[in-house]
Assembly symmetry: C2
Homo-oligomer: 230 residues x 2
């Protein structure tokens, strides 16, 4: 009986973690990176044969990898027609921002990971993005903005929320590619991040959360406007 309890307790320790990704996971990793960095654009058709030949895996493995990307909304399967890199719609953009407006301000105001160190980390992230702006490095600014939001969400100290947020940020990359990677969607928001970090440094979590809600609504409106009037 004692052996039973011990055996059961040990059973719950993830001693056999999947540290070695499966072939399908590896394929999905490669494709995800190509999608997120813009090499594979929205609407691009991913054929099992072509991808399988290029990456050196069988069709079954490719199908499994596709299923993973589809679950992450980075690709979409049209039955009998194929799998395509996802093309975010206005509805997607609205939902992405509804999601962000729920999560980010809540993490900022109530996240249990909030501390002076966390605020200092956010300050670093904002300062690094400022430096990229000085160097006219738009991609760096964009990356810094995403890191700011990722860091905010991580204040919740929830792996499940972190995973959702990674998916949201990946999809946001698709949205920005769709907008032609226009600096106008990244550079001006630095000042909004700066205002939020100032509130935090002044100890005003509620104010920061409210400012972030307003920021996200403005950003959404900006993107939707550009989608309708390109």
């Amino acid at each position: 009986m004692a052996n039973r309890a011990l055996s059961e307790a040990l059973r719950q320790i993830p001693t056999r973690v999947s540290v070695q990704p499966s072939a399908a996971e590896r394929v999905a990793d490669v494709l995800r990176e190509q999608i997120v960095n813009g090499a594979l654009r929205s609407g691009t058709r991913l054929t099992e044969e072509t991808i399988g030949a290029a990456l050196g895996f069988s069709r079954n493995t490719i199908r499994e990898a596709f299923a993973l990307l589809i679950a992450e909304r980075l690709a979409a399967r049209e039955p009998n027609r194929g799998v395509f890199v996802a093309t975010p719609t206005a509805s997607d953009i609205r939902d992405l921002y509804a999601t962000r407006r729920l999560i980010e301000p809540a993490a900022l105001e109530h996240g249990i990971g909030f501390s002076h160190a966390a605020v200092a980390r956010l300050r670093e992230v904002v300062d690094a993005a400022h430096a990229c702006r000085e160097h006219e490095d738009t991609a760096g600014v964009a990356q810094g903005n995403q890191e700011f939001h990722r860091t905010v969400a991580r204040l919740a100290e929830s792996r499940r929320v972190d995973q959702l947020m990674e998916g949201v940020l990946a999809e946001m990359r698709l949205v920005f590619h769709l907008m032609g990677d226009d600096p106008g969607f990244h550079v001006p928001y630095l000042d909004r991040n700066e205002a939020i970090i100032r509130d935090l440094e002044a100890g005003d979590r509620a104010g920061a959360a409210a400012a972030l809600r307003a920021y996200l609504s403005d950003a959404e409106e900006h993107l939707l406007g550009a989608l309708h009037h390109p």
Copy 2:
């Protein structure tokens, strides 16, 4: 050029929705239901051969279905050993509650779907659960509690948050099965739901959100205590 814009606009309309689930999705649906309703218990090994023979699909299709369940955390793959129905650990329970504490109060306090009608719907859900308690229908109470929390999260009007919440609620089912489906984890929480709906009916969204945070922390502590001292 006008044809091009029209073609592109039509392309964004999901005319080819995957209304017909694939074989793998169908298999995953069947297994998910069995896992959530407790027929397939935590730790149960799911062998490709056995499941494939039972449901009448090939091993490749079964593997795809497993991948979907694994992504939902309802199953876990141990390389070279097989796939098992997930067994939530204390760490999982903590993360589930961290996730819920972030999402549910935020949806309650800031969700754009909040309205008199929404409050009335929550009242219905609570009343239905009360009726189940009168009939000593523990499963009905448990289901009513979950419906309460699902309805709360839906106030965010975010498909991505809804999906996360469905996953969380499914995992919570696993947790409750692990606890022997003890009524003590369901029935007493009805009164907590009642208190929250009272705050909402009185127009006190912030108070309801704070009460929900406290409720979730208490529930977490209750479950963790039972896990360590069964």
